[in-house]
């Protein structure tokens, strides 16, 4: 190996060493510049500003990196020359200890000669002899041969570059992960960014939520224009409305929707609490949800602060319908004529249609049929109120006696659900009277006939006779005759009254006993024979044949028996034989009792009465029951006390964190909307005062008063009170 070869090899090593230094400077410059950019960006975010714009930040990073590179590269490459490269090789010569410095000496001489040749400098003349010394050349060669220069260079490069490379990689990782987290759904953004960066300047990297805009799109069937609101805390929306919140800045980290209280629909129950996914919208964010039947809160959190938005969802109520005409139920003798039907309908959103519905039921006993007839349908185009009219033609309905027509009006709104309920009015019913039923009109409101109060009852006469019979041994015959005759006269008067009843039923005449006699040419179904009454003709058994026009004969038979028994009793009494009269009188009494129970009329609403002999049947059954367990009843929730406690906590929060107090009160208010409107209104007053930055103390006290819960009690001697 000659001098030139040695020199070129050393120069090669020098070049590699210079490259390593440049590379190291590059890595360090990039790493430091990137770190500085991350810190500055984080501080800006923490201070509430936007993230640095991409072009500008790239420029800053580049300039900063160039500065760092320049300072590092300039300083470190300045001292690297061939002599130092030779020295670097000598240091890594593992064969000679201590170092011979042959290579360094040779290279130094060669570099001096080269400089002389180029006229750069004047060199000591001894340098040439040194450079040409064979021993020195051999030693330098030996150094180069013994040293594994490529391996040493690799090791040096590794040692120099590994640290800066790792530093740069770390900075890049923070940059990439931060960008990813910020662009994703915001829930974990802050925490991940903080965790990855470990930079205290990023503790609050995202600006807190500012104001927002609210838009409520009513369901399509309502045909309403969207409503826009400013930075409001709550908005009312009909079920199915799309509620949209839009705001500036990065998307919120957390958006949670919560159902408040007992929302009605099962959909709401299923998503009692769920996270909503906000999306980017231009340079801001937006969140959407669909309103339900009940109140819903949306909690949005960003930059360590949370805000609450309340959606007061309400159901689309079914139409309210009133039947204005006819005003009352009726009974028609015949299915003829017509009736004017008028009904009104109202709805909170808008009506679709309304009509009258008639249910006609026919039949009796266990067999009934029913058919539905509709009439007077009218369509509406979103009107909130309307009136429908129709004429019900009884003849057209082809009604028969006994039929009942139930009339009502029904109305539907535009709610698009197949099982949507309709609103209905009260029902009127019209009945076509049966022929027989119409006959009974005569007995309906008639006052009871005047009773002859001078008459002694059969029971009384019997008791008097029995008493007389007991006294008979002690009485003279004359006295006995006199007393018996008195009773007999009373018996005769009562008999005539019974006779009147019999003949009144049969003929409508009073005093029929005298007016109707045998052979008077009228067949009354009864005739007088020797003072007694007897059934005439084919009615000897007192049983009515089909088609017979004497409908009450079978009922009157006990009265006939009573009449005849009274006649017999009267005859015995006239003869002074009370003992003989008593059996007849008892017969008469029994017959009257039978007649009384036989004549009971069962009007509608009074079913036949069966009275159970409880003592007789008590525990007579063969089966026995089993012992079983009763399930405990759950108490209703005691809301008032809990609400009072929450109200007080909110009041105490006002001094420390007004926004938190406001949110607590907003939730409390919507919870109370359904079951305690007065309390909800009182809390709304508190909120209004707080919005005006006024002193809410009085409003708080007022809200608490609405809840009640303070009852004065009697302060008696007993240690426990009891509410007045």
């Amino acid at each position: 190996m000659n001098d030139t070869t040695i020199l070129s090899r050393v120069a090669g090593v020098r070049r590699v060493l210079v490259r390593v230094v440049y590379t190291r400077a590059t890595l360090l410059a990039c790493g430091v510049a990137l770190s500085a950019w991350l810190v500055v960006d984080g501080v800006r975010l923490a201070c509430g500003g936007d993230s640095l714009a991409s072009e500008r930040s790239t420029g800053i990073v580049l300039v900063f990196a160039l500065l760092v590179f320049w300072s590092l590269a300039r300083r470190q490459t300045r001292d690297i020359n061939d002599v130092r490269a030779a020295l670097w090789i000598e240091e890594r010569d593992t064969g000679a200890r201590p170092a011979s410095f042959a290579l360094v000496t040779l290279i130094e001489a060669l570099v001096g000669l080269r400089s002389l040749a180029t006229g750069v400098s004047t060199v000591d003349p001894s340098a040439r002899s040194t450079a040409e010394s064979p021993l020195l050349q051999a030693s330098a060669n030996a150094v180069l041969v013994r040293t594994d220069v490529p391996r040493a260079l690799r090791r040096s490069a590794r040692n120099q570059l590994l640290g800066p490379a790792l530093f740069l990689a770390g900075a890049l990782t923070v940059l990439v992960v931060g960008a990813l987290v910020r662009s994703g759904p915001g829930a974990i953004a802050g925490s991940v960014l903080r965790a990855v960066s470990g930079d205290s300047a990023l503790l609050t990297p995202i600006p807190p939520l500012g104001s927002w805009q609210v838009r409520v799109d009513a369901p399509a069937y309502m045909r309403r224009a969207p409503q826009q609101f400013g930075n409001v805390q709550n908005a009312s929306a009909v079920r199915g409305s799309m509620v949209q919140l839009r705001g500036p800045g990065p998307i919120p980290e957390q958006v949670i929707e919560r159902i408040v209280g007992d929302a009605a629909d099962t959909l709401a129950a299923a998503r009692r609490e769920r996270a909503l996914l906000p999306t980017t919208n231009g340079d801001g964010w937006q969140v959407r949800t669909v309103a339900t039947d009940g109140p819903v809160t949306i909690q949005l959190a960003r930059g360590g602060r949370a805000r609450l938005f309340v959606i007061e969802g309400r159901a689309d109520s079914i139409p309210a319908v009133a039947l204005l005409q006819p005003t009352r139920d009726s009974v028609f003798r015949t299915p003829e004529g017509s009736l004017a039907l008028v009904a009104s309908a109202r709805d909170d959103i808008g009506l679709t249609n309304a009509r009258f519905e008639l249910i006609v039921s026919s039949g009796e006993g266990e067999r009934f049929t029913a058919r539905t007839v509709q009439m007077g349908e009218r369509r509406f185009v979103g009107d909130r109120a309307g009136t429908i009219r129709a004429t019900m033609d009884l003849a057209a309905l082809e009604l028969v006696a006994g039929d009942i027509v139930h009339v009502r009006a029904i109305a539907r709104d535009a709610y698009p659900a197949s099982n949507r309920e309709y609103g209905s009015s009260e029902t009127r019913s019209f009945r076509i009277a049966r022929a027989a039923e119409y006959d009974s009109v005569a007995v309906e409101p008639a006052p009871p006939p005047e009773v002859d109060k001078s008459l002694l009852s059969q029971r009384m006469l019997l008791m008097l006779t029995e008493k007389l019979e007991k006294q008979r041994p002690r009485l003279e015959r004359k006295t006995l005759m006199s007393e018996a005759s008195k009773i007999g006269r009373d018996q005769a008067r009562l008999r005539r009254a019974v006779g009147d009843l019999v003949f009144q039923r049969l003929s409508g005449d009073v005093s029929g006993e005298h007016a109707h006699t045998v052979g008077d040419g009228h067949d009354h179904g009864v005739e007088q024979q020797q003072g007694k009454l007897a059934l005439s003709g084919g009615n000897a058994g007192g049983v009515l044949e089909e088609g017979d026009d004497s409908p009450v004969i079978s009922i009157n038979q006990p009265l006939l028996e009573a009449y005849n028994a009274m006649w017999d009793a009267g005859r015995e009494l006239e003869q002074g034989e009370p003992k003989a009269a008593i059996p007849h009188m008892r017969l008469a009494l029994a017959a009257i009792e039978r007649a009384r129970s036989a004549e009971r009329l069962y009007l509608r609403g009074k079913p036949p009465t069966v009275i159970i002999d409880i003592a007789k049947v008590r525990l007579a059954g063969k089966d026995t029951g089993v012992t079983n367990l009763r399930r405990e009843r759950e108490g209703p929730p005691s809301r008032e006390a809990r609400r009072a406690a929450r109200l007080i906590v909110a009041a105490q929060l006002v001094a420390g964190d007004v926004l938190a107090a406001r949110d607590s009160l907003a939730v409390l208010r919507v919870e109370a909307l359904g079951d305690s409107p007065a309390f909800a209104a009182a809390v709304a007053t508190v909120l209004a005062v707080m919005d005006r930055n006024g002193d809410a103390t009085e409003a708080f006290v007022g809200a608490r008063r609405v809840l009640g819960g303070v009852v004065r009690t009697d302060a008696g001697a007993w240690s426990r009170g009891i509410p007045r």
Partner: protein
């Protein structure tokens, strides 16, 4: 080693020194067992003018008194502290004053607080409602009695000496104030059993009373006998004892184990006798009333603001010692007892006159169900034993903040008049011996030094003459 024979004066000196040591020791032992002698009063008048009730005032007062004691140390005269109070001190300050009195320092105080006796008591209403019965007793005055808690003013009424409330909820602390007097209680709800044993026949009354109690949060155990071989079981009925049940409710004329129920009441349980249960002969011994006849229901009264008159009820005559908690107006111009309570042993028995209270719920106004529930909740609360509300600050025998003025008097004694404060204490001559003893007691280190010096002198003398 040779020992020199002591000369006589040195020997005498050594003996004298030893004698002195023995005498000093004997004196010390006498002083240790000597009862405290009567003390003269060296009055230290301290004008205490704390105007607030804050606990910091206790610290100030303590500092002042300790300073007084330190300044008097070495003084043989016992002390007396005179305090002039312009406001009732805080609980800690009162406790400290009490401790000073207990340490044999006489504390006289002049009352310039303008406060009066005011006592506030709060009792949890038995049941899960969390309600609190509050009672305030104060001296009659023209000022308003104001009841408030952390949430603000609850009610204010002209002071009527005794006032009572039932509060659905309280945010502690609860305070009552009349002018400058204020009492407060912490109102921390205690834990207690909510299980009830029901003894009744199946019917509307038992059904709806059970419903009312369960809706009010009570757990009901019992058994309805529906037929000789079948019954309906409520909960898990067990033996009647106070660990398991707060109250036993009897509604109908049913067969009962009277001995067990009597024992239950004696041990602190509550018993409610409702309607026909008042006529169970076996329970006559614990019944607070005697029933005479049935008072008919006033037609239509269930729909008025006195719905109880619409219920059929027993006419009750309260026993001696029983207390009529609630009466109904009657047409006869006198009040008819409807709810009577009596303490039996450690427990309570409450008699309710109404026979068919379920009609209140079903046939009353729309509020009837809630009123019926509240009624039965109240009846059970009258009977059930409830532990006192715990005071988490100081637990001792004194009334504490519930009656601060009474607490101060109980701890420190009655206030003295200004004349009494300035009057010179009666002088009392002490014997020379007692004076000497008192001085020695005041300086216990002196005796020790004398003994030590005597022993040291003796020992030195012996060493100097070569002896041990």
């Amino acid at each position: 080693m040779t020992t020199t024979k002591p000369n006589r004066p040195r020997s005498m000196l050594e003996r004298a020194l030893r004698t002195v040591a023995w005498l000093g020791l004997a004196t010390a032992m006498y002083l240790a067992s000597r009862p405290a002698g009567p003390r003269d009063r060296r009055a230290s008048v301290l004008r205490w003018s704390a105007s607030d009730l804050a606990d910091s005032s206790a610290t100030v007062l303590t500092t002042a008194l300790v300073r007084e004691i330190i300044s008097a140390s070495g003084d043989t005269q016992p002390r007396r502290v005179n305090v002039e109070l312009t406001a009732v001190p805080s609980q800690r300050a009162r406790a400290m004053l009490g401790a000073v009195v207990g340490a044999d320092v006489s504390v006289n105080w002049i009352d310039r607080t303008q406060a009066s006796g005011l006592a506030l008591s709060a009792t949890a209403v038995a049941g899960p409602s969390g309600a609190v019965d509050v009672r305030v007793v104060g001296a009659p005055s023209s000022l308003l009695l104001v009841l408030r808690d952390a949430g603000g003013t609850l009610d204010s009424i002209p002071n009527t000496r005794v006032a009572a409330w039932r509060l659905a909820s309280v945010s502690p602390p609860l305070r009552a104030a009349i002018g400058a007097s204020e009492a407060r209680v912490p109102t921390r709800l205690p834990a207690f059993t909510r299980r009830v044993m029901l003894m009744a026949q199946p019917g509307w009354e038992s059904k709806f009373v059970t419903a009312a109690l369960e809706e009010a949060g009570w757990h009901i155990d019992g058994r309805y006998r529906v037929s000789p071989r079948a019954a309906v079981t409520l909960g898990a009925p067990g033996r009647v004892d106070t660990a398991r049940y707060a109250v036993v409710v009897l509604l109908d004329s049913v067969a009962v184990d009277a001995v067990a129920i009597r024992r239950f009441v004696q041990q602190g349980g509550g018993v409610v006798l409702g309607g026909d249960a008042l006529r169970i002969p076996a329970l006559a011994a614990i019944s607070p009333v005697r029933v005479t006849m049935v008072r008919g229901a006033v037609a239509g009264a269930l729909l008025t603001d006195t719905p109880q008159r619409g219920l059929e009820a027993w006419e009750l005559v309260a026993n001696r010692g029983a207390f009529v908690v609630r009466s109904d107006d009657s047409d006869h111009g006198h009040a008819e007892p409807a709810l009577v309570a009596q303490r039996i042993g450690a427990g309570r028995v409450v008699a309710s006159a109404y026979r068919n209270s379920w009609r209140w719920r079903m046939e009353g106004t729309d509020d009837g169900a809630a009123e019926h529930r509240a009624w039965w909740g109240s009846v059970l609360a009258l009977a059930a034993g409830v532990p006192a509300m715990a005071d988490d600050a100081v637990v001792d025998a004194y009334p504490g903040n519930a009656a601060p003025y009474a607490d101060l008097v109980a701890r420190v004694g009655l206030p003295v008049s200004v004349d009494g404060m300035t009057a010179a204490p009666a002088a009392r001559a002490l014997s020379a011996f007692d004076q000497l003893m008192d001085r020695l007691r005041a300086a216990p280190g002196l005796l020790f030094m004398v003994i030590a010096m005597a022993l040291l002198g003796e020992w030195a003398s012996r060493r100097l003459r070569g002896n041990r």
